[in-house]
């Protein structure tokens, strides 16, 4: 088991290098630091001196890969943009944002509000979707099933933005049930969280129920289900004891991978509801064209996703007796 995890971790390294190269390519080669400086300073009163000082201040004044001016053999390779700006990401040293703040401590601070919103959404959505899907499978082919599937397609066809705007208008502006936006730590903050969580669950309901339903329906036509029925098991027992248990495997693939990325938060939810998490952090960075933050978030997102992949593989070995570690 241990060796397996180590091997999976080693396999992640080339992928992370690839991600690193992509961000480097995007942020330093397609777009040179000169371009960034020009965009940040505003196109009108840019002088070469201003650009130079902007670059020096942020350490962007180094060459891309090889520094000929530096003395010493090692410094030729380390005093470069690639090493200083890109490879340091591997040590989770994100450096300072273009506005001068420390990205690492910002991320540490903003990760928890994101999680506070994303985790309840994730858990409630998982439970609701699976139970609704099981209900529909139990009554498959009935009028309930058909009408719920039609509703599911309709829920799917509406942009998430509409749910948020409509939810804010109805529940906050007209009915004054919850405050429109804001954030507070501790139990007092629940009034801020509840609306975005419910909206998030509802917006994902259509696609979720359809996906779980198709997974369960695939199981229900299998031979072992027929055998279980032939044994005289009740439909409910078949459903929970056999269909749900065997459906867990495809569900795991889709679900476990998401868990680490919950830290990243939701871009639109957080910015609509004023939650100081990583999602709104990213949006603010995009709007102020802060390349250092976007670069850090891209890398962080990829790391979390890869962790999710590894967790998926490990959970497979735990839940599926057929998978042997080899």
């Amino acid at each position: 088991m241990f060796a397996y995890i180590i091997r999976r971790l080693l396999y992640a390294i080339p992928i992370l290098i690839g991600v690193n190269l992509i961000t480097f390519l995007l942020f330093f080669m397609v777009n040179t630091p000169d371009d960034m400086a020009r965009a940040q300073l505003g196109a009108k009163q840019v002088t070469p001196e201003l650009i130079q000082s902007w670059k020096v201040k942020r350490g962007y004044d180094k060459p891309l890969f090889i520094n000929i001016q530096a003395d010493g053999t090692l410094a030729t390779l380390t005093q470069t943009l690639f090493v200083q700006e890109s490879l340091k990401l591997f040590a989770f040293e994100f450096g300072a944002s273009d506005a001068g703040r420390d990205i690492g401590s910002d991320i540490k601070q903003r990760m928890w509000p994101s999680l506070e919103l994303a985790l309840p959404t994730f858990i409630i959505a998982l439970i609701t979707n699976i139970s609704l899907a099981l209900l529909l499978v139990l009554f498959r082919g009935s009028a309930l099933d058909t009408s719920m599937m039609v509703i599911a397609v309709m829920i799917m066809s509406i942009s998430g933005l509409f749910y948020i705007i409509a939810g804010q208008v109805v529940f906050s502006k007209l009915w004054h049930w919850v405050p429109i936006s804001g954030f507070e730590t501790g139990w007092g903050g629940i009034k801020f969280i509840i609306l975005p969580v419910l909206l998030g669950v509802f917006a994902g309901l259509g696609a979720g129920v359809r996906w779980y339903r198709s997974i369960f329906l695939e199981q229900i036509n299998q031979d072992y289900v027929r055998t279980a029925r032939a044994k005289g098991l009740s439909e409910l027992k078949v459903l929970f004891g056999h269909v749900l248990r065997n459906g867990m495997l495809p569900i795991l693939t889709g679900v476990v991978v998401v868990i680490p990325t919950l830290f990243m938060g939701s871009l639109i939810m957080e910015s609509f509801f004023g939650i100081p998490g990583l999602g709104s952090y990213t949006i603010d960075a995009i709007n102020s064209q802060d390349f250092a933050i976007v670069k850090a978030m891209v890398f962080l997102g990829a790391v979390l996703y890869i962790i999710g992949l590894i967790l998926t593989d490990i959970s497979y070995t735990l839940f599926d007796p057929r998978v042997k570690l080899s």
Partner: protein, 475 residues
């Protein structure tokens, strides 16, 4: 007048023509013909297809751009001796849709007004000339309804015009439907009346009755909207007094283009890499797998955001790439489509690789290999036909996702240019409008309806395609 082509115009027409050519080639195979017949045998599928075609029609109408000659100024011409055969063209491009709605482009109001309103939405301060007192009142709109003066009530006027529009709409649709029935009856060597009877009783193979009723409803609705747009702002006006109906119709092009052109960019890459990974194996497979795992591990929105940010800066630093603001926003749309294409080929590629791997193990492919058939011939004859259903399903599934993604991306600030008409931009503005007192709901409502119908139709249609084409469902 001369025709001008934006980049996206060229792309979309290219796509349409290649689709027609592809359809013409593919439909010669009786098997494929039967499959498509099966798809359209569902009443929902056929009406969804008609809705989708309507959207495509508007997108194409909006993709024919032209420039008009500047009207020669007589006094200027007399003084400056310009050669008469050289015509000057206006800087602004106009599409066919703009021509249809030219009355609503020129006639902008001052600010917000509700659908069918005759007065502005908010009160403004008016200073009375005689007494010098200022008071707040609702100002009348400049371009709403001209003939209310002779004693007709507002609602009666709307009713009367709606009735006229209904009649015109019915006439147009009956004309179209009748000519189609005539054509079909001619094809099937039946007389017109029997054909009509068959359709009326629902005896035809394809559910033409539903198709015709959908068409009828669509045509009647659009005639109504268009007819009334001459005397009212049917869906209200926005902050600067622009007509919301016109904005929503212009947004169709952006949504549809992002939906279909992204596929155009993505498909060749996904197909080529997917097939070569599955077929050649070895180090080629390793590299391609590494490529898509890496791209896939970056969260989609972040990768798109990063690429768009970079693209913005590049465009700001290269102003020589475009001449007008229209060309600028068009170029941005092209880049956005490319970025979406680059980030979205991975899923399809993975599916195609797995399927190719499966097919290349099957006996007929092994036999072909043993006979020394070239790789290219194997791909063309054995692999591509067996991958078609996966490609088709994923294209139609992606379409609705991309239309929805446009809205989110525009909200995040990495979508289309702020000057481009798009549902995302409309929603973005509407967000602030909902906070106003009294609420301005119609922009959001229009964007919602137009988007919802498109995405719903696409989703239902893709469901049908999936049930028919997916071999797992045929067991």
């Amino acid at each position: 007048m001369k025709l001008t082509f934006l980049w996206t115009d060229i792309m979309v027409w290219l796509l349409v023509f290649s689709l027609i050519a592809w359809g013409w080639v593919v439909l010669r195979s009786p098997q494929v013909r039967k499959q498509w017949q099966l798809i359209f045998q569902s009443a929902i599928a056929i009406s969804c297809a008609i809705v989708l075609l309507t959207y495509l029609f508007f997108a194409l109408l909006d993709s024919v751009h032209m420039r008009f000659a500047v009207e020669p100024d007589k006094t200027a011409q007399a003084s400056t001796q310009t050669p008469p055969n050289e015509t000057q063209y206006q800087g602004e491009m106009v599409s066919l849709l703009d021509l249809l709605f030219s009355h609503r482009i020129k006639q902008t109001e001052r600010t917000y007004s509700a659908p069918f309103a005759t007065h502005e939405h908010g009160k403004s301060i008016v200073v009375d000339d005689q007494s010098g007192l200022s008071k707040q009142e609702y100002l009348p709109l400049k371009y709403a309804t001209t003939d209310l003066k002779n004693g007709k009530s507002h609602s009666f006027d709307i009713f009367q015009k709606s009735f006229a529009a209904l009649l015109i709409g019915l006439m147009i649709s009956i004309l179209i439907i009748a000519s189609h029935i005539k054509w079909r009856s001619h094809l099937q060597h039946r007389c017109f009346n029997t054909q009509l009877q068959h359709i009326w009783q629902g005896k035809t193979l394809l559910p033409w009755r539903t198709a015709y009723s959908t068409l009828l409803v669509i045509i009647v609705i659009f005639t109504w909207l268009y007819y009334l747009s001459y005397s009212y702002h049917v869906l209200g006006t926005d902050k600067v007094g622009g007509d919301v109906l016109y904005h929503s119709l212009k947004s169709i092009r952006t949504g549809v283009l992002i939906g279909i052109l992204t596929t155009l960019v993505m498909l060749p890459v996904a197909i080529m890499l997917g097939i070569s990974a599955g077929l050649f194996g070895g180090w080629i497979d390793d590299i391609i797998q590494y490529l898509y795992t890496t791209l896939n591990s970056i969260p989609g929105v972040l990768l798109i955001a990063a690429a768009v940010l970079v693209m913005q800066v590049t465009m700001d630093n290269n102003p020589q790439w475009f001449e007008t603001t229209q060309e600028r926003s068009d170029l941005r749309l092209v880049f956005l489509i490319m970025i979406l294409g680059i980030t979205s080929w991975t899923g399809l590629c993975r599916l195609l690789r797995a399927e190719t791997l499966k097919i290349s193990q099957v006996e007929f492919v092994t036999a072909a290999k043993a006979f020394g058939v070239s790789k290219f011939a194997i791909i063309r004859r054995h692999i591509m036909p067996n991958l078609m259903h996966i490609i088709l399903i994923s294209v139609v599934l992606d379409f609705s996702g991309l239309v929805l993604a446009e809205a989110v991306l525009s909200y995040v600030g990495v979508g289309v240019d702020p000057t481009t008409h798009s549902w995302g931009n409309m929603i973005n503005q509407a967000r602030l409008e909902m906070a106003r007192e009294p609420m301005v709901w119609w922009s959001l409502f229009s964007a919602f309806i137009f988007m919802f119908v498109l995405v719903l139709a696409a989703n239902l249609f893709s469901d049908r395609i999936q049930t028919v084409l997916d071999p797992r469902n045929n067991t």
